[in-house]
Symmetry: C2
Amino acid sequence: MGASSQKLTAPSLTGRAGGESSSTYCFTVEPFYVDFTGHLFLSVLGNHLLNAAGNHSHDRGWGIDQLNEVHYTWVLSRMCIELYDMPQQYEHVEVETWVESVMKLFTERNFAIRNADDGHIYGYARSVWAMIDTSTRRPANLLTLHDGDILRYVIPAEEKPCPIERYKAVSPLSPTPTLLNIPLIPNYSDIDINGHVNSVKYIEHVLDIFPLQKFEHQRIRRFEIAYKSEAFITDPLHLLCQETDGEHHVEIRKNVGSEARPDGEMVVQARVLWQES
Amino acid sequence: MGASSQKLTAPSLTGRAGGESSSTYCFTVEPFYVDFTGHLFLSVLGNHLLNAAGNHSHDRGWGIDQLNEVHYTWVLSRMCIELYDMPQQYEHVEVETWVESVMKLFTERNFAIRNADDGHIYGYARSVWAMIDTSTRRPANLLTLHDGDILRYVIPAEEKPCPIERYKAVSPLSPTPTLLNIPLIPNYSDIDINGHVNSVKYIEHVLDIFPLQKFEHQRIRRFEIAYKSEAFITDPLHLLCQETDGEHHVEIRKNVGSEARPDGEMVVQARVLWQES
């Protein structure tokens, strides 16, 4: 959402009205949703995190369906996932989610990802969301909506820590030599109910630029993604990738080659950190 | 599996040993698994059908994990899905599955797809499976394996009908003018735990050749797919599509342009029948 200048360093709340709680949702790792190493696809884990977010919000009266009635909607701005290991085929996984902070224009929602049978922690995730007015497409003030009801659900970091770093803003890549020649044309299966390229599919497309061999001996330790602007079925997407100090910066851009903005417009920025598996 | 000459017209059983049963599995239509019209992606429905098949087999001692121990595995040969309508976002869906017949080299497994809340029938599906010996890659005789134990689970069509037609074998397309110029190169997210392109991803790739506009006013009434041979990450895949009498025949081929077989080798054959939505 082009909001990288917004500071996300500390929750704005010092007191709470009570009623805050986390919720936990379970799923089984299905055979068609594991990769060739037998581990859950990161994009599918992303889907489960976003479902947990949607269910947790809905159960508190802040679901997208409830907001749509009053012309508001949630927009995912950033997500970081850090994994000590990745669930494997047939394992039972639970995702716990809670709200860590609410500021005027953003709220931070965290996740813990565990084995539902033995409590083993696979990892954690953080996400940052804005709310927009669907008629004006402008951001809404979260602190005044519904008389600040959302503040009731905050569990501050001192009480429930999420032991991974926040999203780290990165500079755009220099596009010249690394722009892939063949753009990715969004297809039917990329498009969500809002007519945009689906947030989960971007994760799939980012990882699909790496050769299969990369995943044979390495696994993703940390994945960060920022959703900067929306893309539609008519937008050819260009993927850029640069490796710096063992981590990969990946960008997805639209309108590349246009007269006004030959380098294109940022749609997604991602950072992928690997480790030996 | 190149087995289109095998007749699949009638169950071979006249008597049963008892113990047969169907099983029902539920899922919720998740927001990232619906298309721009708000209806479940057919590929995701395919995933749920295959999960139901896997669970039903497993619960009867015929799961892939159990078979692997004795060097056998199930191979999906064909699937037809016929839909009166498609589940929508947040709906609760149940998939009932049962075995209709077992022959020497194939078994037929059927599915009913219903709304789990009100029993509304969305549609039905049929599938045909072979079993292979994983050491020789040759088909196994289902009637003699485990002393014919699998016959106990058959519910013949007279007792439990599946009111859709069986898979209809179709002739290969004439490849000359319709071969897409740019082959589809399988990526990381296409490859399953066996190192092959994933059966569910083929459904996605087949539907992705249609423009988004096609889905605006039409929906898929019937979808047929035959899995003819396996493809790997190293196989560029060529997609062919031809419309005949309002239905689309789609093929995915590998090794196109090779000296021995310039027209390539059939990987997947699909037939898509549409109706106004």
